[in-house]
């Protein structure tokens, strides 16, 4: 086998392996994973994006093989060899035919690529919400997500719950994106491409998840100090489970008599300036709604798991867990701290 043929085969098999890595898991994947590969979409818009992406990848891989191969061939074939006679090679100044060819071929390629691109842009951006689509408003804050369900009267934070979409009953979720302070970006790779949340502006996007489970994402626009700790979870439920979750969230907060002491501390400190507990005097909107705090998986927008121990550490001094976050150290005594945490733990 000639050296150049071997090299071409090597390059081809590398690309084949790369393609396998990108494509094949998509067919194997049944559930969302923590490894948020954009080539393993589990939602309609993300799948549309993958389709056009694979086309682009294929075209680019072809170009890479041809041009890279030519380049390697040229460098090796036309190197100055030992014992060269030192004479200058033939001086070629150009060729109109060749240059015409490598102008026209790219123009055709670009044309094809643009048609595929435009089709996907209009498919994704032009989607019309069906009458029974779920509407959710997401408000970006430094450094957490406020999630509102205007039709259901639910307000929660950092974890969005939506129903799964089935072929028998399609149920997309349409998001209205806003920001309370600086620009953020909503990105859950397996559900959809990203869309920014920009203050003084209303953006829209949609997702249509096809598998139940928890999808992970991040804020994808630099938004200051704790941009890294602004994680996002989308929990996708089967239809009936979603109704159950919604019903539970609509319940008034638990008022456990045993946690009265903590409740009193909570309502007499400045906690209530920033946090809401529905149906009480706590009506602040700078921080996450705490009505059903303990139904959430994490604290600090995905910074730590929401356990009793972590919750206590968080309330004692959030700055040691998430430096720079907007919740101050409240200088609570140990008794107050225990009481407040005991109260918060009842907010299921």
């Amino acid at each position: 086998m000639k050296k150049s043929t071997r090299r071409a085969l090597g390059a081809a098999s590398f690309l084949f392996l790369a393609a396998t890595f990108l494509v094949s898991p998509a067919f194997a994947a049944e559930v969302p994973t923590n490894v948020t590969n954009i080539f393993r979409p589990l939602s309609i818009p993300a799948q549309a994006i993958r389709e056009v992406s694979l086309l682009v990848l294929a075209i680019c891989a072809g170009i890479f093989l041809v041009v890279g191969g030519l380049l390697a061939y040229t460098v090796i074939r036309f190197r100055q060899r030992p014992g060269d006679d030192g004479r200058e090679p033939p001086q070629i100044y150009g060729s109109n035919q060749l240059e015409f060819a490598w102008t026209v071929i790219p123009i055709v390629t670009v044309f094809v690529l643009f048609l595929a691109t435009a089709r996907t842009i209009y498919d994704v951006q032009g989607a019309i919400p069906p009458a029974d689509a779920l509407n959710v408003t997401v408000v970006g804050h430094q450094w957490w997500w406020e999630i509102r369900y205007p039709e259901l009267g639910i307000v929660t934070a950092n974890e969005m719950h939506v129903p799964v979409s089935e072929s028998s009953k399609r149920r997309p979720t349409f998001l209205k994106l806003e920001s309370a302070d600086v620009a953020h970006s909503f990105w859950v790779p397996q559900l959809a491409g990203k869309t920014d949340l920009i203050p003084n502006r209303e953006n829209r996007m949609w997702i249509e998840p096809l598998q139940p489970g928890t999808y992970v994402g991040n804020c994808a626009e630099y938004c200051g100090m704790q941009h890294a700790r602004m994680l996002l979870r989308v929990v996708v439920h089967p239809a009936e489970d979603f109704e159950k979750w919604a019903a539970a969230q609509r319940q008034p907060p638990v008022d456990d008599p045993q946690a009265r002491a903590g409740r009193d501390v909570f309502f007499t400190t400045s906690c209530i300036n920033c946090h809401t507990i529905k149906g009480t005097n706590a009506m602040g909107t700078f921080g996450p709604d705490l009505t059903h705090l303990m139904s959430r998986e994490t604290l600090g927008a995905g910074t730590v798991p929401n356990t009793a121990e972590k919750l206590r550490a968080w309330v004692r001094d959030p700055q040691t867990i998430k430096e720079g976050c907007n919740m101050p150290d409240m200088q609570l005594t140990d008794t107050e701290l225990n009481q407040i945490v005991a109260y918060l733990l009842t907010l299921k």
Binding site: N34, V35, T36, N37, I38, A48, I49, V52, S53, V56, C60, F64, G68, L71, V75, F78, R79, Q80, D84, P89, Q91, Y93, G94, L98, E99, W102, P106, V110, L113, F114, T117, A118, T120, I121, Y122, Q125, D181, V182, A183, S185, G193, K194, T195, D196, I198, P199, N200, R201, N203, V216, C219, A220, E221, Y222, G224, M225, H227, A228, R229, G324
Partner: protein, 557 residues
């Protein structure tokens, strides 16, 4: 002749006392000295900004690493990006333009020598001003420290409400001042190219290098003022209560993004075109053939210049533009690929059928061609707006633009340094050390930025100071950080080589590479007045005509 001997003798100059030499640097209006001062300070900022990047990579080598906190990290990437673009890229190309344009067109100096000196000092003090922000750290002179808003400084993060202290003001003023330097140096290049070409050098006989930096200079004049204007508006917002970008009072955050990217995208080409310019001189010389399709190369560059001002919003596919807007910026971006492709093919055709000599400048150019090919292809992927919705602001973009700006620009800058150092210093750079630099940097660069493509595809966002384990990003970050060690070692070899060869390098002679453009017809280093008598040219390769009277270029052009 005796007087001339004294003026030319290098020992006479170096034997001046240190203060006198320093004084000479401060008052000089010589385009060659200013060019070298530009390049020297650019390399200095390159080392500083590179060190900042090394700390960034060391922080990200492991998940949940605690080497630096979030505040420090954000300052690191802000200062790294800002410095690399404004304090390495811009002065480096200004230095190359200043040094080479008069020599290549057979002129004695730039059109406006004093303006030239003014431009350099504006850039230099702009850089110093930006870095002096570190001195305002808490404990020194109040709250502040270095800017932490990213090199793009998106509103409203830069507003009074979210950026307290003076760091953003340092960012605004430092860049504003150094931008003034860039603009006047661009005006100077344009005036020089138009009015000081030697006899016989028509526009279409200029070396490609001159053509390309001519286009770049035009783009600088178009692109930098919008940034400066936006920075002034931001300053008004911060100090005089205007409301351009203050969203809480009805201002527009997206307006800043438009201003920034209508500067920011042409800026990428402004940086990249001088790299292409150097490659367009080096590849022919080391392939022993003239550049393939000179008129098409010129046309492609001018076309890129025009298209580049209509693609800016491809940085904003995720801000929620209409489908029409997204489609427009997708197609305009894809169109850039056509002239860029033509360039790659023409370089390839220049090498094809040649006798390629693997000297250091050529090695860097070959690596540049491969890496720039990859950068171009990932660029095509990013131009596909839906793909971009996934890839933008992820590590894929970080990988992409480092393949453009390091794999493309830095490699051609290194090629240019190895190629023209003998002309500027009269001594060759050491080849062995140069090969170490080449291989270490080549391996390190690809180790660092190759895996970042995959990290981005797996959902890793940019500008995060830490990440949890279990997201599949660990291995790619680990490899990426290890690559930095190779890159740093490579740069160390370059710096050592540049300093060592000043005194110990082999004497270069006038024309060590057997090249064809006018700068190789004068001595190395060239005298203050460049040419004893101004040359007269009849073709694009005057020295080829001289060396091959039996087969001169002017017969064919």
């Amino acid at each position: 002749m005796a007087t001339q001997d004294i003026a030319l003798s290098p020992t006479a100059e170096t034997s001046l006392p240190f203060t006198a030499r320093l004084h000479e640097l401060v008052v000089t209006v010589d385009h060659k000295k200013l060019g070298l001062m530009y390049i020297g300070s650019a390399l200095l900022f390159f080392v500083v900004a590179g060190s900042l990047a090394s700390i960034i990579r060391m922080q990200l080598i492991l998940p949940n690493n605690n080497l630096v906190g979030p505040g420090t990290f954000n300052r690191l990437f802000t200062m790294h990006g800002t410095s690399m673009v404004f304090l390495f890229g811009m002065p480096m190309i200004a230095g190359l333009m200043n040094y080479l344009v008069p020599l290549m067109i057979g002129a004695r100096d730039m059109a406006f020598p004093r303006l030239n000196a003014f431009g350099f000092w504006m850039f230099f003090f702009g850089g110093v001003l930006l870095y002096s922000s570190y001195l305002t750290a808490p404990g020194l002179a109040g709250a502040g420290s270095a800017p932490d808003v990213g090199w793009f400084a998106y509103a409203p993060l830069t507003g009074r409400a979210f950026s307290r202290g003076s760091s953003t003001d340092y960012w605004i003023l430092g860049l504003f001042v150094s931008s003034v330097g860039s603009i006047v140096s661009a005006i100077n290049v344009i005036a020089t190219v138009i009015s000081l070409r030697c006899k016989g050098m028509t526009l279409m006989r200029m070396p490609l290098f001159v053509w390309l930096v001519f286009v770049t200079s035009g783009m600088i004049i178009l692109a930098l003022p919008p940034l400066s204007a936006a920075q002034i508006m931001l300053l008004l917002d911060r100090f005089l209560g205007s409301r351009f970008f203050d969203t809480q009072a009805g201002g527009s955050a997206v307006l800043w993004q438009h201003f920034f990217w209508i500067f920011g995208h042409p800026e990428v080409y402004i940086l990249m075109i001088p790299g292409w310019a150097a490659a367009s001189e080096i590849i022919p010389v080391f392939s022993r053939k003239p550049i393939f399709g000179y008129p098409v190369m010129v046309a492609a560059t001018v076309t890129i210049g025009f298209i580049s001002v209509s693609v800016w919003a491809h940085h904003m596919f995720a801000v929620g533009m209409t489908a029409m807007g997204n489609s427009f910026f997708a197609i305009s971006t894809m169109l850039v690929g056509i002239p860029t492709g033509i360039k790659i093919f023409n370089w390839l055709a220049t090498m094809y059928g040649g006798k390629i000599r693997f000297e250091l400048p050529m090695l860097f150019c070959i690596a540049f061609l491969f890496q720039f090919l990859i950068a171009g292809l990932t660029g095509i992927m990013l131009s596909v707006a839906p793909f971009n919705w996934q890839l933008t602001d992820s590590y894929f973009v970080v990988a992409h633009f480092h393949y453009v700006l390091i794999g493309g620009l830095a490699f051609t800058i290194f090629a240019a340094i190895y190629y023209w150092y003998p002309k500027a210093m009269g001594r060759m750079l050491n080849k062995k050390l140069g090969l170490w630099h080449f291989w270490l940097f080549l391996i390190g660069f690809n180790l660092t930025f190759g895996p970042q493509h995959i990290a981005g595809i797996l959902g890793m966002p940019r500008r995060i100071y830490t990440y949890d384990s279990g997201r599949g990003w660990e291995i790619y970050n680990m490899i990426s950080s290890i690559g930095v060690i190779f890159q740093a070692a490579g740069v160390l070899c370059l710096v050592a080589n540049v300093l060592w060869s000043l005194r110990r390098g082999a004497p270069a002679g006038d024309d060590p590479w057997d090249a064809w453009t006018l700068e190789w017809s004068t001595t190395s280093p060239p005298p203050d007045y460049n040419f004893e008598t101004l040359p007269e040219v009849r073709s694009r390769r005057p020295l080829w005509d001289l060396k091959h009277p039996e087969d001169p270029d002017w017969k064919y052009e």
